[in-house]
Symmetry: C2
Subunit: 142 residues, 2 copies
DNA sequence: CTCGTCGTTCGCACGAATTGTGAATTCGCA
DNA sequence: TGCGAATTCACAATTCGTGCGAACGACGAG
């Protein structure tokens, strides 16, 4: 299985490399994000973090998520209105979103190299994000 | 040139068909949206509407945009944090977003039929949205 | 190990974007 | 024209996120 999420140790190194310090709060968040495919919101991470570290501030969660985003170790996702979702998977991938239950899932998409754009001459595309909306397997089963 | 935006007259019919009334405020917004490729925010539409109808309420703009979205005559776009953008083009298309100037442009994409999804078995995809991020022609020219 | 220096935490207040509420108004059918 | 239901709009509330600053704590130098 491909390694997709940064390990806490790697994030520690990345923070140190940027002159940032390692605090227990940050380390806890690194652990909560590691191999986390749930695309949590800041609130969700705050709730999870509060279990193991009561008193941690929502402000600190936002701060750390912002720092991780700034150094490219985390992607911030805005599918619609509502809170942002955070994705520790920084490999080249895309998302499916279930319109019924709202679940977000990482997917790998083949064929993107053959997409052709009509209507924006001379636009230099650096990145591509694809979102599939529909119904997930478990919601379709009901 | 393909007709991509609903005409005010069509929107009037759509509203009537749904039991909604036609007010001067709504009619003005229909006109402002017709053939509008600027992907305006609610605030931008409010500003534009205020020129021709001083006193119109931002609340009414939101209300009308929500109604249009609900009946599928308008798409609501959330590219990142910040205000939602509204797209009166309801044909099957996608978007390019310039990271420099923030401009949003409609594009038509070929090859989407050949995309294959790995990682979400049995997900039934109803809709697809693709966003290309990069640099637009005019920003690249600087 | 101790110290001093920044970076960090976190409560609070603020800000932006959007929605709830309800009284006054107005559309549109009869 | 008149009635009833939909609409407008000001105001307040909500949601999500950020600015600020005092107290705290990580960590390299000595």
């Amino acid at each position: 299985m491909m390694e997709t999420m940064c390990t806490p140790a790697e994030l520690v190194d990345a923070f140190r490399a940027n002159g940032l310090k390692i605090t227990p709060q940050r380390h806890l968040l690194f652990e909560l994000l590691h191999d986390n495919g749930e695309h949590p919101t800041a609130e969700a991470l705050f709730t999870a973090a509060s279990v193991r570290m009561p008193g941690i501030s929502l402000r600190t969660v936002y701060q750390t998520l912002t720092d991780l985003s700034a150094m490219g170790e985390l992607h911030q996702l805005a599918f619609d209105t509502g809170p942002a979702h955070f994705d520790p998977n920084v490999t080249d991938h895309h998302h499916v979103v279930c319109d019924v239950c709202g679940a977000i899932q990482d997917v790998y998409v083949d064929g993107t190299d053959h997409l052709t754009i009509e209507g924006a001459p001379d636009f230099r595309s650096d990145a591509l994000s694809i979102v599939f909306r529909g119904t997930c397997a478990s919601c379709a089963a009901t």
